[in-house]
Amino acid sequence: MSAGRPPAERAARLLRWYPRPWRDRYGAEFTELLISDIEERPRSVRRAVDVARGGLVARLTQAGLAGCPLAAPGRAVTPQLRYRQVSASLGSLGGVLAAFLMAGAALWSGLVIDRQALPPLARPATALLATDVISVAMLALLALAAAAALPVLATLAVRFWAGGRAVRKALRRPAAVLLAGVTFLFIGGRHFENGWPGTGGHGSFVPAGLAAFEWATSLSVSAYWAHPAGFFASFPRPEVYWMGTSPLALAASVIAAVILIRRAGLPSRVLAFEVRLATAACAVMPVVFGAAACWVATSGGSHPAGGLPLPFHAGLIDLACTALLALALPLAAQAARTARRELRLAQGRA
């Protein structure tokens, strides 16, 4: 096995756990240490686990979720490097928030549709309360996301038109992917929102157009994926294509947006503003999760024998969405915490 390979080769394999910027900075010296360690102790599970864990931490650091920014050898960490780390943290938080909003929108759509299916007196109080709380919190998150996007877009526009050729080259491709992805989602969402079951009054204070669009863009979050035969039989072919491609478009858009945030070189004042919004978003996200978890935990009554699920019954897809919401909370909190710490250090307020 690997214990028979030359130490240099084994060290090089272990080094692959680390991201490229870390390897560029520490790779050569770390490899030398690994070679010496391997020569001294040819077999060591502890070393392999330790290096894998260290590599994971380095990757989390690169994503702005842990640790400190890397400095050049013999140089201190400059405020610019710390601001870059703040951008990385905010980019990761944006990605987490997008996944959170997608799962939240899917849950919310289901609740609102179920509310229409029952007469007012038959609606369970917990589910009604959860729907209203999630509605308010989701609207707040969307407002925060919109407020966060505006200064980033303005900075990108300035960088793109006033920046040099290198800046434009770095921004061009992710900007094109983001534009294409958002356009696709917008056109597709507007088209498929016509099938929104809430048309004609969905009984919620979320504006009807926004509710329908949210429902259409989260159509892909469906339990039908687990039953391919039922999936293809239940939906018209264009809707099947939409459900297959919209998550890809969303993922591409989010990745492009994260790259743009990292490359935009946002000014410190914009970063400070974004960090405040990130903190506010982290305060609102648990409200969505709490309401969803309350509903899932109390949804109780399920399928009548051999029939369709009762309204407000939480199925597996709702459980999965709630689990995703729960997973997003610590990630978002960690990203916001890292962003706040690095911003404080960059501004000399350690």
Binding site: A28, E29, S36, V51, R53, P73, V77
Partner: protein
């Protein structure tokens, strides 16, 4: 009621934010207090004076943090083994951290000895 002894707050601000890396960081700074060393020499020195073998990943995580906080700095090197040295800020942070540890150690030993006498 026995008199409660309160140790002064840890003023080792330089290592206060290191969390789980405070242990490896203290060992590394203590080793570098003796002069610059590269990764492998650090590992051997720490093993010799503390009986702890720092695994490579842990060593470099702590080194990267120390370097980013300005407590150590990398030196130029002709070969691939880059040595590190303690900075002035690193010496201050190490001194403060070790003083705080010594105070805690003294309190612990004094209480242990007092209980032995009582028994």
């Amino acid at each position: 009621m026995p008199k409660r002894e309160r140790a002064p707050a840890d003023d080792g601000a330089g290592l206060a934010g290191f969390g789980r890396y405070a242990g490896p960081a203290t060992l590394i700074l203590s080793s570098l207090a003796d002069g610059p060393k590269h990764g492998y020499a650090l590992t051997k020195d720490v093993e010799e004076f503390a009986g702890v073998r720092l695994a490579p990943g842990t060593l470099y995580e702590a080194l990267a943090r120390l370097e980013s906080q300005g407590l150590t700095e990398a030196l130029e090197s002709a070969d691939r083994r880059r040595p590190y040295r303690l900075t002035a800020a690193g010496a201050v942070a190490l001194q403060a951290h070790l003083d705080a540890q010594r105070r805690a150690t003294e309190v612990g030993l004094r209480r242990l000895n007092a209980n032995r006498v009582t028994e």
